[in-house]
C-alpha cells in the first residue's frame, strides 16, 4: 500500500497525448501577438486553458478541451496553474511538426524540476523532446469577467477572412476603432478616424453569407484601441480562413468586447490508430476537434 501511495504521489498532474501538433500550434499562435509573451496555463479535468494578457486591456484564452487529445490522464487535485513563455511553447511545438509527418506527442506536467515536458512517442528509435521551464504565474491584475447586458447581448458573427481583411484595412486611419451595431436596418459598422476616416459597413440583409448572425435590440456603439482589435485578428490561422469559419463578436456590460474564433485541431487523415485509452480518447471526428479562442477587449474610456 505504501508503495502504491508513493507511486500516486509521483504521478504527474497531467499526461496527455496529442496527434495534431499543427492544430495546437495554430491555436496558440492565434493569441501570440508579440514575440516575447508570457502566458498562464491552467490544467483541469476538462482540458487545458492558456491565458495571455496585455496592458490590463486585452486578454486572450485558448481552450483545449480534453477531447482534442488522444489520451488525457489528469491526476491533480484542484487546478494547477503555471506561467510559461508562449513563444518558447509555440517554437518547441513547432519542432515536432514537419511536412508530411504528424507525430503523436506526449505533454506532461510537472517534470522533475516543475518543467512542462513534451516528447514524441510514436517511434522507439527517434524522439524529439522539449523541457520548458515554468514559473509561478502572475496574478491576473484585472478581472475579465464577461457579464452580459440583458438576456441576449448584442452580438454578430462575421466570416473570419472578411473580419481580418476589414481590421487590416482599418489600420491606417488611426489608433481606435468604433464598432456600431444598429438594429434597424440591422447592420454592423467599423469606423475609424484619425489621419483619415474609414467606415466599413456590413448590412445584415445585404450579405447574409458574410454577416452570418446578428442580434441587437438597440443602438450600441463602443470604441476600442486598434492595436487590441489587431492583436485579436492578426494571427487567425490560415486553416480558419480555409475552413470558411466565422468569428463571433459579443458586447457585454460596459462595452467589454468578446471575440471568438474556432480553430480545427483535428488531423485531416487518421492513418494510424494510437494505443491511447479509448475512454478518454473522445470523439475522433476532425470536425468536432475544435479549439476555442476567446479575446476580451476592454473599450476605450469615454472622454467627458
Amino acid at each position: 500500500m505504501a508503495a502504491m501511495a508513493a507511486d500516486d504521489n509521483d504521478k504527474p498532474d497531467l499526461v496527455c497525448h496529442l496527434d495534431s501538433v499543427q492544430g495546437m500550434v495554430d491555436a496558440l499562435t492565434s493569441v501570440r501577438w508579440k514575440k516575447h509573451q508570457d502566458a498562464v496555463m491552467e490544467l483541469s479535468e476538462h482540458g487545458i486553458v492558456l491565458i495571455v494578457e496585455e496592458s490590463g486591456c486585452l486578454q486572450a484564452k485558448v481552450y483545449l478541451k480534453r477531447e482534442l487529445f488522444v489520451l488525457y490522464d489528469y491526476s491533480a487535485e484542484g487546478r494547477p496553474r503555471f506561467g510559461v513563455s508562449l513563444g518558447l511553447l509555440v517554437d518547441s511545438l513547432n519542432t515536432f511538426s514537419s511536412p508530411g509527418y504528424t507525430p503523436v506527442i506526449e505533454i506532461q506536467y510537472p517534470g522533475p524540476d516543475m518543467q512542462l515536458l513534451l516528447k514524441s512517442v510514436d517511434s522507439p528509435y527517434a524522439c524529439t523532446y522539449a523541457e520548458i521551464r515554468t514559473r509561478i504565474p502572475d496574478t491576473i491584475s484585472w478581472d475579465y469577467n464577461f457579464e452580459t447586458t440583458g438576456n441576449v447581448p448584442p452580438r454578430f458573427t462575421l466570416k473570419s477572412a472578411l473580419l481580418k481583411e476589414a481590421i487590416d484595412d482599418l489600420e491606417w486611419p488611426g489608433s481606435s476603432v468604433e464598432i456600431i451595431l444598429k438594429p434597424d436596418p440591422p447592420s454592423v459598422t467599423f469606423r475609424s478616424e484619425g489621419h483619415g476616416d474609414l467606415e466599413i459597413e456590413f448590412p445584415y440583409y445585404g450579405s447574409t453569407e458574410l454577416l452570418i448572425g446578428f442580434h441587437c435590440g438597440h443602438l450600441v456603439s463602443h470604441r476600442y484601441k486598434y492595436k487590441f482589435l489587431g492583436a485579436a485578428t492578426k494571427h487567425i490561422p490560415s486553416s480558419v480562413l480555409k475552413d470558411n469559419r466565422g468569428s463571433k463578436f459579443t458586447i457585454g456590460r460596459g462595452g467589454m468586447l468578446k471575440i471568438q474564433h474556432l480553430v480545427s485541431v483535428g488531423r485531416i487523415v487518421r492513418n494510424q490508430h494510437f494505443f491511447g485509452d479509448p475512454v478518454t480518447s473522445g470523439n475522433q471526428q476532425p470536425s468536432s476537434r475544435i479549439a476555442y479562442i476567446e479575446f476580451y477587449v476592454k473599450p476605450e474610456e469615454e472622454e467627458d
Partner: protein
Amino acid sequence: MKFKALLTADGVNLLDKRFLPAMDKVGRICLMYLTKEHTMFLHNLSPSFGGGDGVQCIAQFRKDVIFTDYRISSQNNDRIAFVIDIALLHRALRSAVSILRSGGGGVGDELHIQIKLVKKLPAGAAHALPYLSFETKGYKSAVIHDVPISKPLSRPDVIELQSALDASRDIPETLVQVPDMIHLQNLVDKLRNVGELLNVSITQYGDLHLHVSTSLITVGSEFRKLKVLGIRADAPNANQNLTPSSRIETAIQRGAAQTVQVNMKHLAKSLNCHMSKPDAAFYGIAPMGACLTMIFQFFIPGTRQMDNSISLHCRLPVLDTGSA
C-alpha cells in the same frame, strides 16, 4: 599556366542543378582547385585563402565526371587554384546552357561548352586580369562569358592549400548515418528559433543526439540504432529506460560517445549541401572534438554502389566551451 577543357553533359547537370546551388548557399566565394585528376570547390579551407572560422566545405570531382578533353599545365605540378564567385560561375554556366538550348541543341552529346583560363585587358584597365572563360558554340552563334577570378595562387600557397586539404580528409573514428536528411533539415530550421548553440552527440552505439539548451528551455532530438561506420559498440541493455540526455551522459562516461557544441548557423549552412542531392549522409566527431564532420555519399545512378568519383564533405568548427 594553362587550363582548357570541354564540359560534359553530366558535368553540366551536376554543377548546374546540384552542386553550384548547394555550394553557393554555403558561401558565395570559394576556391576552385584544379589538378591533373580532380576539380575541387573549397570553402574556408584555410585562413590564408580567405577562410575564417566558418564551415569548411569540400566538393571534389574526378576530372572525367565533369570534363572531357581536359588539359592542364602549370609549374606547380600541374595544379591551379584561384578564388571565384560561385554565383557568377553559375550564371555563366546557365547562360551557356540556355544558348545551346535556344539554338535547337539539347544538353546532349553535341554539347560544346569550352572552359579555359584566360587573361584579358578590360576596358579602362592598365593590366590584364585573369578570367575563367566559357565559350559556347550553338548552331548559329558563339558566345563567350568571362567570369572574373583572382590571380591564381602562388606555388607556396598551392602547397599550403594541398596540405590543408590533406589534413581535412581525416575521417572521424565513428560515423553514424543520418536517417532522414529532409527531416533533419526541417528540425534544424525549427531549432534555430530556440537557440544559437547546438550540442551534437554521437555514440558508438549508433545514436545521434542534437539539443539546444537555454536557461528557459531545452529542445532536442535523438535518433537511435543508426548505421555505424568505424568504431562501434553494443549499447548496454540498461540504456533503454534512460532519457536521451542520461543515455548520452552514460555513453560519454563509458568512452563510447563524444559531444561537441556547434553554431546553429553553421549547421544550417552545411545542410544546404542537401541541395546537391546526396544519397546518404554520415556525421562524426573528429578526435579530441576538433570538429563535426559531415560526409555525403553519392551512389552510381541506378545502383546502391558508392560513386567514388564524387565526394562532398563539411567540417564544422567546434565552439570552445571549455569542456572539450
